[in-house]
């Protein structure tokens, strides 16, 4: 690659004003398996594809509960994601301890972004190689944020990261205007549809995806396999598009799915999915 001369150090600028190490870190996010987030006024749904590195291994945990009112889905170096989740959980616990109230998501997102920025300005550190989709609730309702390795963060109505996320983004771009007032059930169905787009032909089952929901009056929880499979069956039967009205079936969002132990040490930290680089190559990604 012709960028070699200026990419040894995170603290070296290129003549074009880019920090290549940070851009490489963003590439790591694109290599990870897909994670999707969408929000309505009252709920946030996080969904991710579970890719196990081999048939013998378990899949890695990519969705973490941070607090009752905050959850995160990651893509990229899952080890970095795990460490950042631990940081976020700690921050929430400490804030609750001091102020006896939940940490506002917006604050957490900024703290995380500042933490990521530090790693872009120290010669002895490297940027975190993980993108985080943070869903959370505060007084003004439900929010979805995306934190990059560059230290930037953005708020979204819906977003997808990781490999083949462009397919999901295309679907979300078509539908996002309906999300604001969407019901919880329809939001989940939209997440499943978007997730299906990233699988490109492969069958979507409850064993290759994880869905988590949080909302006003509903603490963060991961949907159990049965519920997810039932939802998948429902929309496969109906047809291509999700139903306009919410189905009457009440969803049971049971307690946290017993995720396989994070001892997937044998597996590589990120999943290897070849993806052609996204079309927005012109500007340095962190200038967006």
């Amino acid at each position: 690659m012709f960028r070699n001369q200026y990419d040894t150090d995170v603290t070296t600028w290129s003549p074009a004003g880019r920090l290549f190490q940070v851009e490489y870190a963003m590439e790591a996010v694109k290599q990870g398996s897909a994670a999707i987030g969408l929000r309505s006024k009252t709920h946030v749904v996080l969904a991710c594809v579970n890719k196990a590195s081999s048939e013998l291994s378990s899949h890695q945990k990519k969705i973490f509960k941070v607090d009752d009112h905050i959850g995160v889905a990651i893509a990229g170096l899952t080890a970095d994601g795990r460490v950042l989740s631990r940081y976020m959980r700690n921050e929430c616990i400490n804030y609750s301890y001091t102020y006896e109230s939940p940490l506002p998501v917006g604050r957490l997102v900024v703290q995380l972004a500042d933490k990521a920025q530090v790693c872009t300005q120290r010669s002895w550190k490297r940027p975190y190689g993980v993108g985080l989709l943070i869903g959370g609730l505060d007084e003004s309702g439900a929010h979805l944020y995306y934190n990059c390795p560059s230290g930037n963060y953005f708020e979204y109505q819906a977003f997808a990261i990781g490999s083949r996320s462009q397919a999901a983004k295309t679907y979300l771009e078509r539908k996002f205007e309906t999300f604001v007032d969407s019901s919880r059930e329809n939001l989940i169905k939209d997440a499943l549809f978007a997730l299906r787009e990233t699988l490109q032909g492969e069958k979507l089952t409850s064993s290759n995806c994880t869905i988590a929901v949080l909302g006003i009056g509903e603490a963060f929880s991961t949907l159990d396999q049965e519920t997810v499979q039932r939802l998948i069956n429902e929309f496969e039967v109906v047809g291509e598009d999700p139903p306009a009205e919410a189905s009457a079936a009440p969803d049971q969002s049971d307690g946290a799915e017993p995720g396989p132990a994070a001892a997937a040490a044998a597996a590589a930290a990120d999943d290897d999915d070849q993806e052609t680089p996204a079309a927005d190559q012109g500007a340095a990604p962190m200038d967006i």
Binding site: K65, R86, R89, N90, I93, N94, S96, Y97, A256, P258, G259
Partner: protein
């Protein structure tokens, strides 16, 4: 020339009494709701009981500011445990955590006299009793606080078989039924309220069993 004594103490005693009784498949924890300082009453409706986990309850008498701080520390530690282990802490695990937390401040102790109660991993009732610096023991029943000196001998009399006084050591749970245990607790507090000025106003009883958690209240003497 005598050494000058401190005229300010970081501690205060807010009084009150706590009791816990372990049964075969339930646990009863009770505490009065009076909070006092010196000879004055600060509140007639202050709860000394907190649910730390699914199956663990703690009642603490002593200095309520320290009690509150202790409760917050344990709650935060429990959250961390849940994040790491994906499950709730068992009562014996919480018992050990409480002991370690108290001993951590061995040289500036929490002025808290605790009684931890709940169900162990087999579903049997368990009660753990503590001193201010973390020394603890699993017992069949226990009482702490200003009325403990009045209540403990009575409980010894009524619940002798799970008592540590009896040798050889027997199983730590009482053969009493849940309703009998609750009545016993009510009797204890009714008697303690008669003679202990720091105990009274209202009694809060929390019962933990396989079907969940339940609360009962009983009016006590207000004087």
């Amino acid at each position: 020339m005598t050494k000058q004594q401190a005229n300010w103490s970081p501690y205060d005693n807010n009084g009150g009494t706590c009791v816990a009784i372990a049964g075969a498949d339930y646990c009863v924890i009770a505490a009065d709701t009076r909070m006092s300082t010196g000879y004055s009453i600060l509140s007639r409706d202050y709860s000394k009981i907190i649910q730390l986990a699914d199956k663990s309850l703690m009642a603490s008498s002593g200095f309520q500011a320290d009690v509150r701080a202790l409760q917050k520390v344990l709650a935060a530690r429990h959250l961390i445990y849940q994040h790491q282990h994906n499950k709730q802490m068992s009562c014996p695990a919480m018992a050990q955590l409480l002991s370690n937390t108290l001993y951590y401040k061995r040289f500036f102790p929490y002025y808290a006299f605790n009684v931890l109660g709940g169900l162990d991993s087999e579903g049997k009732g368990c009660v753990f009793t503590y001193d201010a610096v973390g020394s603890y023991e699993r017992v069949g029943y226990s009482s702490q606080g200003s009325g403990a000196t009045l209540i403990t001998p009575f409980l010894d009399n009524q619940l002798k078989s799970p008592s540590p006084l009896l040798l050889p050591a027997k199983d730590a749970v009482t053969p009493l039924s849940e309703s009998e245990a609750i009545d016993l607790v009510k009797t204890c507090f009714a008697s303690a309220s008669e003679r202990d000025i720091y105990t009274g106003d209202k009694l809060e009883i929390v019962i933990l069993n396989a079907s969940g958690i339940r609360r009962e209240y009983l009016e006590l003497r207000k004087d």
